[in-house]
Each structure stands twice: as C-alpha cells, then as structure tokens.
Amino acid sequence: MSSGDRDLGLKLRMRRILWAQGFYCPVEVDLSHYEYEQRQLMRQSLTDIDVLGLRFDPDLRAQAVLVDCKSGRESDPARIFWLRGVMDFFHAEQGFFVKRKVHGHARALAPRLGIRVLDEDGLGHLERILRADAAFTAFVDETRYARMEGLWGIDVPEGSKPTAAQVRVKNVAHYLQYLYWMVDEYRNVQSVIEQFGLVARDLQGAGLREKFLAHVGLQRLSLSLLRLAGEVIGRNVRDVPAQVRGYIFGGPLLLREREALFAAVEKIVDAKLGGEALTLEPPYYPELVEVVNKLVQYAPDASQILRIEEAVLLCRVFGHDEPIEGLLGSKPTSDAIVLAKRVALLLQKAANLPETLFAELHAL
C-alpha cells in the first residue's frame, strides 16, 4: 500500500470495514520471490497485498480475508483470478475485489471463486450497516497513514550512502515486510526475535521511526505466537511444552534432525571451545513457552491482542494520546492488555530492546 497510489482511499476504507468486523489488518505486506543473480540473493517483487485482514476466534482459529482494490483499467477477470491465487497462498477463505465500478462479467465470475465484489455502492452500504462511516476515523486518516509510511524503513538523503546501522535496520524492515510472509511460519517466532536482537543497539534512541519498526515487529511476533497457540489448542492442549517444541523446530522430524545436528556440532564445539554448551533452545525459550501457555489458557483474551497493539500504534504512538477504546469499540479486558504487554516484554527482553519502545503499550 502506498500513499502515492490512487487506490489508497479504497484501501483505507476497506481496512476500516474489516476492522469494524473484528479483523486486524497488518501494514507493510508484500510478497517477494528470492533467487540467485550474480552470486547474490536478489529479491524479485511478486505483488503487494492491498489489504490483508486477520481475525482469531476465541479458540484461536485464524481467519484471513484478502482485498484487492483497483481503480485503473486492468482486466477485472484477470485480477479476480490473480486474487484467488493469492488467497490460496495465504489460506484465506474470503476475498474482496473492490473497484468503484465493477464490470458485469466480474460480478458473475467472482462468487464462483469465493470472492465478493464491491463497487462504490457496495462499499457505502457496508460502511453504513457496520456503522463504520463515522467511526474508526484513524483508519481513513490519510495524513496519519502517510506519516507512518514515511517512517518505514530508513531515511537516507539522496546521494548519501546508508550507514552500517541503517543497513542493519533496513534488513529488519525488509524481513518484516517481505520475508515474514514467505518463509515457513514456524520459523517466524524465533526469527522476529533474533532479527530485533541484531538491531537492539540501533534502536536505543527509541524515536518514532524506531517505535514504528518495533511495533510492527511486535505485531508480527504476536501473530506468529497466536498461530502457534492455536496449533497447540488444535493438537494437544494438555502438553503445551511438547507442542511448542515440536512447532518451533518445524515438526517432529525436523526437531529430531536438529537435535541430531546439535549433538554432532556440540562434539566439535566441545572439542574446540573447551566444553561450552550448545543448546537447541535459545536462551529465551522458557519464557516463550510460558507466554504460549498463557495465550492458550486465556485464548479469548489472546484473540484480541493484535487489535490492542494496532490501536496503541494508531492512537498512542501516531495519534494524540487518543483513548484506544474509541478505536476498539469497547474497553479491552485486563487479561487481553496484560497478554499484549507480556508478548512485548518477551520481545523486549529476548532482543534486549529499550523499554521505551513500547512505553505507550506498557502505560495501559
């Protein structure tokens, strides 16, 4: 999504419509493909997602909705077939094709592919019945959105080269924007934490740019932890530690492989480094398991944490100290707030980030 694009208005309105129905809509979602070119791993942009809506049921079953907003002259059927493909990639049950004026044959095709079409009338209707036309204004505030977008990544003046610290930060933004959506999901929990561990020193200033990056990172980590907790509930809620272990390391077979690899490497390391221990579990692993256990136990509250985090970002970090209750539609439960903070603490401590990055969340 780009503030310079002509579809921005439609996209923000769709974010608001989905939000009014309990969805969370992550920012900076792009799909890329990676391939070796001239002995370097190069990113090839595949497509950007206009709006991705995610919602967790009280038992942490995830639902995904994808939205494609177009105002140009592209072929409607071609976009609808494309959208179906992206929906499959994201395991999204539903999709919306949004265009101010939709061609008749697109209306006939879309339902057969599980896609709804929305034109200007349809959008207005949804906004009215969901009472989203006057509420949740933060979502359609293009100025606020442009400000956020301007702070994404790094700011290098034209003609200058980025510093080493800026390159490190850019890599993290790159990961959150592209790689996060492409890698096997089980790798994301550890990877988000480790990525931020690499830039902990670079984020010490805790300015708005750093806070934005950290909050997007927090949302990504929360999303992955909720997916993990949902898996635990779906598999065997009686044995959280074993389920977490199996998931985090890629399933029973990969776990066994990794254990064998660690045992083998430990022998080499043991001989060369004087007996220093090499462990499969990262140092923050015990707390990670505790957090997942809490998300499982308090699943209905846990299902709300992404929306709380987004509300804090929009209302407190980028807003003017606006109450988050207005954006959420009601007062969040204490348990949901405490869980959101617990995930933030996990990221903060495991990656050694400054407390001030999440000060607005901890103030709740």
Partner: protein, 467 residues
C-alpha cells in the same frame, strides 16, 4: 534383591569422601569409631538457589502462625520476606492479572501476609519479574502476573534471597534446615558445620522448633540429634537409625533420589540394589506400596512426608496408591507404557476416566478399586477389555491433586492450601496449582548459555532462524 533375605546387621560405617563424615556410631561389636568432621560452615547437604527459595518458604509456613516472636523478626527478616513472596506466588500462579486488591489482601492474610507486609511482598515479586504493579496515583489499579507455570519459580526467589545479603545467622538457619531435612544430624556436629556460636545456634534451633521445622531427638545414648519434622512422618527413630548405619552422603543421595521420583520402583534407577534404600524400606523410613502385576509383585517407594495432619493421612495414602499404579504403567506395562504420568493424571482429574479400554486395568489399577478410589468395568463391546472410572469424591480429588504434586515436585515446600480462586473468583489454568498443595513446578535446567559468537551463530542456523 529380595528384601526379606537381607542381612539386617548394622553395617560397618565407611568413611565418606572428603572428610565429610560427621557421625560417631558403634560397630556391631560395640567398639566406638570416630569419624571425620565437616569444617566450619560446611553443610552435608549442599543447598542450591532453587532450594534456598523452597526453604525460605518453609520458614514462612512454619512461623506464619507465630504472631510475635522477636528472634524470627530480628534474624530471619529476609528469609521470611522471600518465603512470603514464594507463598503468594505459588497461590497466584496460573492467574494473569489481579484487579481486586482487597480480595488479594484477604488472600494474603490467609497466607500469613499482613496488610502492612503485602506491598513489600508484591515489590519483591516485581523485583524477580513475576509481576508488574500498575498504579493510578497511589492506588493499585492492577497487578499483572508473570509467575512461571511450566518451570520453577524458586530459583529466582533464591537468587533474590542472596541479593538481600542475609546475615550469618539467617544463612546458617536456612542451611541447617536444609541439612536436617535431608537426614538427622548430631547436634554437636550440626553446630560445628553451621559456623555459629552456641548462643546463635540455640537461637536458630529455637526458631526452628517454634515453627516445627527442626526438633531435637535424644537417642538411647543420650546424644542429641536434630531432625526436621518436614521429612519425618511420625517417629524420627527409624530415620536416625538409618543415618547411623550409613555414611550421611549415601543416605542423603538415596533419600533425595526417592524424593525426586516419588513412587520409584524397586530395581529401577537409584532403587536398584541400593543398600541404603533397602534398609530404609525395612526400617520404615521409606513407605512402600505393593502392586501385583503379571510379572509378580512390584514395590514402589515413597519418601517420608512430614506435617501431614492425621485427618489427611488417608489422602496421602491414596495419593501414593495412585502414583504407584501410574509408575507401574510407566515402567512395567506390557504394551503402551505411560509416557507422561503427570499429563495422564491431569487428564484423569479433568475427565474422571481414561479414553480407551485396556485389558490390563484390573492388575494395574486394582489397588485403586480396593482403596475406593476407582471402579473398573468390563468393556461390553470388547471382550477382555475394561474401562476405568475415578470415583469423584472430594477426598479422591484431593488425593489425585496430591499425586500430581508429588510427581511434579517430589519433596515440596510446606505451603498449606489456600485457593486463590476462592478469593479472586478468577478461573485458573490448565497447568495451575493443585488445590490441595499449591506449589511451583520444578524446572529441569537444560543447559548453559553458549557465549561465543560462533556457537550462537551455529545455533541460529540449526534452529532455522532466517538470516
């Protein structure tokens, strides 16, 4: 080894390693032997951070009913503070947040933490990162909890106890309790190893005795020995006799092995031809539970457990029976051995039955039928198979909770029951503390943190972290 054929003649006592033997006993012929001694400040049973937290809680639990007693206030203030924090944490474990501060104060009072002390205790929980106190001005708005549920919580509290710089007397008191809880010690040697002068040593004994934590027993020779009622069920004599027959290190090791794996089967692990354990069973120090299996009679050993009121002895007896049956399935089942005993018992508590019928329920769980804990019915749709049903009585549920507690912790602290949910009206967790004896789970420390760059880099790679 068949216990009935054991030669029960007291063995000659071997000297322990490193001059750590401290006792004087007689050989079979009656000749006195003198033993090496522990140095000043050297305790026989080394205490780690985890057990520091447990013993601090023991002191609090023992002394909480003692309204005003100078020595405890003067000499044990840090220990009691950490003990109170441990007790409160153990009872709040499983909760996510507490907003009703008044209800929390009621709960704390029930746990021996006065209103004046509660804020200080909460600050200690904050210091060890088990909680965050959110305030509106001076008023507590919410207490956000992060008390570990799937790993130990005592280690952090033990660390905090160290940070508080306990006095010499305080340190000696905790170590003395830990020492005599493992095995009774001659008073003279205990004082020497404590490093305390007579005045302070007697003071610590007085505090311990006031809290029913340390008591003196005089044997036939008139030699005073110090033991802990925490680990002696009724009469301390059998344990003292055992301590006389074997090197103290061996006794400590053997009893700790059983405490760490309550229901340890005869012939398995530390109970495989261990003369100390065999003698402990014969003399009544260890309580065996017998189960008749297809391969013959099996015995399962339990460490002594003190401070159980007479009214709850039957619950302990039932808990041991339950655990013995589960251990039998864990070690000796002909097919589909029990992989995770604690998970199985938690499921039984929740569902009051097992999912599938099996042919071996009558022999594996027959003991529970005779003890009125369960019934076993034939599976009408599958010949030779049986269903297991727990008899859902208050007493049986308490016994099941205690069995789960014994599995998870073994030798736990002396925390008494007080259900936080009653006070706070908040649903607990699946992994929450048992209702009868709330306690923190012991965490098996897996490894040290690798420090060098190459090690961490390799670790990330092997873990699948995206570069």
């Amino acid at each position: 080894m068949d216990l009935s054929t054991l030669d029960r003649t007291p063995p000659h006592v071997a000297l322990g390693v490193g001059g750590r033997i401290f006792r004087t006993i007689l050989t079979a012929g009656g000749s006195p032997l003198s033993y090496g001694t522990l140095g000043v400040g050297q305790m026989a049973n080394k205490i780690d951070k985890h057990m520091l937290g447990v013993r601090a809680q023991d002191f609090h639990e023992g002394l909480k009913e003692v309204a005003s007693y100078g020595p405890k206030e003067v000499h044990l203030k840090n220990t009691l503070l950490i003990g109170k924090a441990a007790t409160l944490a153990a009872h709040l474990r499983g909760l996510n947040a507490v907003e009703d501060h008044e209800a929390l104060a009621y709960l704390a009072a029930d746990l021996g933490i006065s209103g004046l002390e509660l804020d200080r205790v909460l600050r200690e929980l904050e210091t060890v990162d088990f909680a965050t106190i959110k305030k509106n001005g001076d008023t507590i708005k919410r207490i956000e909890l992060r008390i570990p549920e799937l790993r130990e919580g005592y280690e952090e509290l033990g660390n905090r106890w160290e940070e508080l710089h306990p006095s010499e007397v305080e340190r000696a008191a905790v170590e003395m309790l830990h020492d005599v809880a493992a095995v009774p010690r001659p008073k003279e040697d205990l004082q020497r190893s404590s490093g305390l002068d007579t005045k302070n040593f007697e003071l610590v004994l007085s505090i311990g005795s006031t809290g029913a934590l340390m008591e003196t027993y005089e044997d036939d020779d008139g030699e005073p020995l110090i033991y802990s009622p925490l680990t002696v069920e009724e009469n301390p004599r059998p344990l003292i006799e055992l301590a006389r027959k074997f090197p103290s290190d061996d006794v400590v090791l053997a009893l700790n092995a059983v405490r760490n794996e309550q229901g340890l089967p005869e012939g398995i692990g530390a109970a495989n031809n261990n003369p100390v354990i065999i003698e402990a069973v014969l003399s009544g120090v260890l309580a065996p539970v017998r189960i008749q299996t297809a391969q013959g009679e099996r015995r399962f050993f339990f460490a002594p457990r003190g401070q159980i009121p007479a009214s709850e002895k039957v619950i302990l007896d039932k808990a041991r029976a339950i655990l013995a049956c589960v251990r039998s399935g864990q070690h000796f089942a002909d097919y589909r051995k029990i992989f995770n005993p604690a998970a199985l018992l938690r499921k039984l508590r929740r569902e009051k039955t097992f999912s599938y019928s099996r042919p071996d329920y009558p022999e594996q769980y027959g003991l529970l039928v005779s003890k009125q804990i369960a019934i076993i019915d034939p599976d009408t749709s599958r010949d030779g198979f049986f269903h297991f049903h727990l008899l859902d009585t208050d007493e049986n549920i308490k016994a099941l909770d205690l069995a789960i507690g014994l599995l998870e912790v073994g030798d736990a602290s002396t925390a008494h029951t007080s259900d936080a949910q009653v006070f706070l009206g908040i649903a607990g967790s699946y992994a929450g503390a048992p209702a009868t004896r709330t306690r923190m789970a012991k965490f098996v420390k897996r490894s040290k943190t690798a420090s060098r760059h190459v090690v961490t880099t390799i670790s990330k790679l092997l873990r699948g972290v995206v570069a």
